[in-house]
Amino acid sequence: MPYSVFVTVELTQSGRGSRRVVVGVIGLVLFLLAGVGAYAVASGYREQDTKYCGHDCIPGLKIGTVVEALQGQGHACADKRQFWSCQLRIGKVRFEADLFRVPDVADFYEYIGKVEARIVNPDSTTAAAGLDYMSWFATLPHRDDPSTVKKLGGWLAEQITGDGDVTFVLDWEYALERKANTRSVELTMKRRY
């Protein structure tokens, strides 16, 4: 066999080997990348799964946890079976919140499906406290999403000094209503599809 042909054959076999190694490395990288990506997606999906409350609750927050947090702020809370009612009076102003349990077939899940938060007798000096009060409840379902929290805060700030409105944010319906007969502002939030 001529030398040139021999060298050509050797180089060809060596080139094929190199190409196989390169393909193998690329395949391994793709495998890892696809694995990491799919893991992140599946993990996030699993974390947000709300099957444990019938898919109709504020994710990951037990009603007792929220009640305890409010009590820690000095709010007085009472269990009314269908909902927990918490309130705080400062002077003539009343901050009231009803946290409704998610109904099950014959009972209730210990998670929140609806919130009614109201401020009775608000005035110009209670605007900042009122906004923070409403915002805390409104952002409970989106507490890990800063952009949505900011968006909701902007909507509330606009509506709390106006006549009120309804909006939908990521499967949640928000309605802010000003009631002249009770001199109150009320926020109702519930799950909507």
């Binding site: 990348l33 599946a42 993990s43 000095g74 002077g91 952002t139």
Partner: protein
């Protein structure tokens, strides 16, 4: 026109070479068409030294001579390269195609397997968050600590100001206040005839947890007694802060005859005309 036996055909078998020009083949040439790499070699004497050949086989024939060839294709005749060693080119191309297919398949399989494996691990190892902590409260979120008038005690109002300095008489009330939610109350009135026209209500949970203080005066809007009562009340409530007590007293006297509101030192003072009164509650 069919090629005479022995003359070469183009690799696609559609033309034959007479030594000077390409001619289209009119009828299928006998035998299988020439294949790439198996092109019929040039006839004997058909080399660079042949006097009638302008370019060596199988280089592109001269343009004017190539017209018949080009006429059938609308494009210039292909520049057939020199035929390689018989049987070498087809296997190499076939090998490259197989390699490309295997590579693509491997990469697609890697993506699919990686995705499936990652998703399976993600679903199997992650549990839904079912008992998260409550988020922190914003800075102005109303707190139970804001329910009481800062640094104000029942003694400060009832004993030091009203009873000791002005000989007023105070009585406790066990009824809770429906407005502030205070569990206990105290009403103080002057010891003389003015008791029918002046009063101070103190609502509290504990002696040092006062929710509201309200003075009422029915001796006429703008009367000296009412203005003095409101001024002294503001001075008493802000007495722990020397700089604010004077401002508070001045504001109360100035606004005793109209409806107004202000916040000083965590206390909101509000005057009203019907009934003529001034009330102090915590500022939010």
């Amino acid at each position: 026109m069919a090629a005479p036996p022995g003359w070469p055909y183009s690799p696609d078998g559609r033309f034959w070479w007479d030594g000077t020009a390409w001619h289209p083949v009119q009828a299928p040439p006998p035998g299988p068409p020439a294949q790439p790499g198996l092109t019929v070699p040039p006839p004997p004497g058909f080399d660079a030294g042949h006097p009638s050949v302008s370019s060596p086989w199988p280089r592109t024939p001269p343009p004017q001579r190539a017209e018949p060839y080009a006429a059938g294709q609308q494009t210039p005749p292909p520049a057939y390269g020199p035929p390689g060693p018989p049987g070498l080119n087809p296997p190499r191309r076939r090998g490259t195609a197989v390699f490309a297919l295997v590579t693509a398949g491997t990469l697609i399989a890697a993506l699919a397997l990686g995705g499936i494996a990652g998703a399976a691990v993600g679903l199997a190892t992650t549990e839904p968050v079912t008992d998260d902590r409550a988020p922190s409260f914003p800075g102005r979120f109303p707190s139970g600590k804001q329910r009481y008038l800062p640094k104000v005690t029942v003694n400060m109002v009832a004993v030091n100001w009203l009873q000791a300095a002005n000989a007023w008489r105070c009585a406790k009330s066990a009824a809770p206040d429906p407005v502030t939610g205070a569990t206990m109350g105290m009403i103080c009135r002057p010891g003389d005839a003015a008791r029918l026209h002046m009063s101070v209500y103190i609502w509290y949970d504990e002696p040092d947890k006062v929710l509201s203080v309200k003075a009422r005066c029915d001796l006429g809007v703008g009367s000296k007694a009412c203005t003095s009562l409101f001024g002294m009340m503001a001075d008493t409530l802000l007495s722990p802060d020397r700089t604010l007590r004077e401002r508070a007293e001045g504001w109360a006297k100035k606004n005793a005859g109209k409806e107004a509101m202000t916040s000083l030192g965590g206390i909101r003072l509000q005057t009203a005309l019907h009934p003529h009164s001034m009330e102090a509650v915590p500022a939010i």
